[in-house]
Subunit: 460 residues, 2 copies
């Protein structure tokens, strides 16, 4: 049996899951080369805010598998190697590293180049092409190290940090900076955690306020006040100036696909690749992870939801199928997500799955929604924390369409029961009457997610 | 429209849910009478061990709705009234209260008489017919008060408590007595938490040991050592004597149906009633709660799983359907359950759903099972606690058949995702690849329940 040359672009979750899974499945008949543009492999980007906050002692902890471990597994891993183009006919990839431009042939190619943090024009000095001093995103391990330095350079508790963007990374970095004692202002185009509905965002904003974080909604940063190349303030669209020693760029990410001829590959308007459910993109080419869009399981539409857990799954699917075609299929995403905001006595768990009201409307699905307030445990237990559950259901067929949760300890992971119900096309009645767990330290006799489902069912 | 006379036997979760739901649905055309044998209504029996432990300050906290609240809602509630028989032809119930024997007519009858703690012969003085001093079950609020007194009568930290039975109440009472500083020995016929498989019970027993609780398995209490009517020790079947100042009877419960002519009503060998999915038992008679068996959703067989959350749901279904027939159906049970063992630095969450290996074998379902060890959060987070997940799947069709979890904080409620998957007939592949929530404080990038499903899928 001849040896298959597998070339993997990107050595983070998706690419390395694909590589290791392929090695496990194919054995010695596979020669794997991986090109990684940075110097890091298989790290948890989601963990960086906790490293910045001081919860994680070292970036080593965030690395699931080191370059050495990948190499020990038989992968020819080349760091600092940036892919610059693909010749599909010749089945070659050109890349640039310290030695200049190189060309590599492949039999199977996995594109797993991930995504990069959005850096808006206003964050960059037009003269140097570099970001202004004190302004940085939060995506790579290098970014994390930069943030540790930046925060260490501030006077203890005296710094003013502006967070541009109120999504997951924005909220987590607000937590990190606030816990380090700095003054924090979150400035968002729409609102905090806009993947949840406005009535749920309001609850999160209230929590941020309680923890001393200023929140400005509906008013993005459009310009910086800079002196000597260093940020001194951020201007919102209404012209208001907010003093800033540091500005966090938490404005989302874009897929790293600029090196590809996107006209020739299935891709979306934002540059995300659109692989088939088996992970194949084109003849001999596979794609997985943050450089890809995914199908939303409820609407069937392509959506961009870069997340480590999807990257891991997609990589494993690609690694399996490129050895034995058709074994696994990616079943789509529901947009399930969770985070936490914990500063001092403020502790909020935040989670969502399925469609928001806005997303349902965009998909032409008429939904009924309802907010239910309750408790994470029986009221007489010290574990009892408030929890708010919002559920959405389709008016036409009573099917659950989405769930959003904001609450205390134990609130967030409840989203998984709703996500599992969504995955199986459950109605709110199914959810209301199913057999979920109850004991006083963990739930009320009617589990709150089921109360929410029952109350919504009554309104349909 | 004439007034319907609704008579409810039992004023706890099932009966009062039925009564209030019926009142909401029927309005003024309903005259509701409720007979309750004890002096308490709508209380959380599950909360009693936490009251005994000192976590809950007063039994008032355990009462969801007082007698006064029920009466305010229009229910003619009669406490200390024990039903003694039913004349189905005449549609009357006879009951006994302080005033002697009474007869009441009904148009619709709800039997929700609950269950009583098992009190074995060895716990009772044959001369007096009373339990020996120092020996008591844990079912009613009166039992809870008795336990507070019994424990208060022991020397601080010096008492020897034997817990007969290693199920939920047994483990919870072991926690309560240990936290109050006493020496605790749990003595079980089979093993601790035998609704889980032996390999999972072993993990729980290890936790109990670590917290200083002695555990004897496979050796039930068969006899007490008694002096002056007061317990001094418990003998196991092998003749070993275990010193005991107090003995907890945690041996399960039996349905309170002895007053019925069970030959004439659908019922099981243990005396549990067997209502239809709509809650109806016979013409004009409904049944709900701990006096009933339920259909297991996976096997279709009748099973006895008395639990407050089922009682609440069944009561609501009966209350709805007796006003408007056929609106709601009880979809069966999966045997989902959760508890906790927390003493000092030992903290274990314990949960299960679906079939155990033993139950699957009894149902003739050939299963493959697998234990997976992991973490409740990303390894670099302080929230990361060990978690063990055991999953069972049918060999024939890969469908998930059961899940068992033992682990630290955040472990237990993960059972709800598995229970929801089970409810919808999911395969382990469905569970492995669905979209569950991930963020470092809450999960590993591959959620551990999904890792467990994926690993089991690989073995099928």
């Amino acid at each position: 049996m001849s040896t298959t040359r597998l070339l993997v672009l990107g050595a983070d979750a998706a690419g390395m899951s694909a590589a290791h899974q392929a090695i496990r499945a194919a054995g010695t008949n596979l020669a794997v080369t991986a090109l990684e543009a940075t110097g890091d492999t298989s790290y948890s980007a989601c963990g960086i805010p906790y490293w910045v906050a001081g919860d994680v002692s070292s970036s080593d902890s965030l690395v699931a598998r080191t370059a050495e471990q990948h190499r020990k597994a038989g992968i020819d891993l080349r760091l600092g190697a940036t892919a610059t183009g693909i010749d599909r006919r010749a089945r070659t990839v050109t890349y640039r590293d310290a030695g200049g431009e190189q060309v590599l042939g492949y039999d199977e190619l996995v594109i797993a180049t991930g995504a990069s943090a959005m850096v808006p024009d206003w964050a960059v000095d037009p003269d140097t092409g570099q970001r202004y001093a004190g302004v940085a995103p939060v995506k790579t391990l290098t970014d994390g190290a930069v943030w540790l330095d930046l925060l260490a350079g501030l006077p203890g508790g005296g710094g003013r940090v502006v967070v541009a963007g109120g999504g997951y990374i924005g909220v987590e970095m607000a937590e990190a900076a606030r816990r380090r004692g700095h003054t924090v202002t979150v400035i968002t185009r729409t609102r905090v955690m806009s993947s949840l509905d406005p009535d749920m965002s309001a609850r999160i904003e209230k929590g941020l306020h309680e923890a001393g974080v200023r929140v400005l909604t509906g008013s993005p940063v459009v310009r910086l006040d800079v002196a000597d190349g260093r940020v001194r303030g951020a201007y919102t669209v209404d012209g208001e100036r907010h003093p800033a020693d540091l500005v966090v760029l938490a404005l989302g990410v874009t897929p790293n696909t600029a090196f590809l001829d996107l006209a020739e590959l299935p891709s979306g308007p934002g540059g995300g690749l659109r692989p088939e459910p088996d992970g194949s993109l084109a003849d001999g080419i596979w794609a997985a992870g943050d450089c890809c869009e995914t199908r939303h399981r409820l609407t069937g539409t392509w959506t961009y939801l870069p997340l480590g857990t999807h990257a891991n799954k997609q990589g494993r699917i690609v690694g399996t199928n490129l050895v034995t075609p058709g074994v696994l299929r990616f079943g789509g995403v529901l947009g399930t997500a969770i985070t936490r905001f914990a500063v001092g006595t403020t502790y909020l768990e935040i989670a969502r799955t399925g469609l928001s009201e806005h997303e349902a409307a965009a998909a032409g699905i008429e939904v009924q929604s309802l907010i239910t307030e309750g408790s994470t445990a029986s009221g007489y237990m010290s574990e009892a924390d408030p929890i708010t559950v919002k559920l959405l259901a389709a008016r036409s067929d009573r099917r659950l369409m989405g769930a959003q949760i904001v609450g205390g300890r134990g609130a967030g992971k409840r989203i998984d029961a709703a996500a599992t119900a969504l995955w199986h096309g459950a109605t709110v009645d199914d959810l209301a009457w199913s057999d979920l767990s109850y004991a006083p330290p963990f739930a009320t006799a009617w589990e709150i997610v089921q109360v929410a489902a029952r109350r919504l069912a009554d309104r349909l």
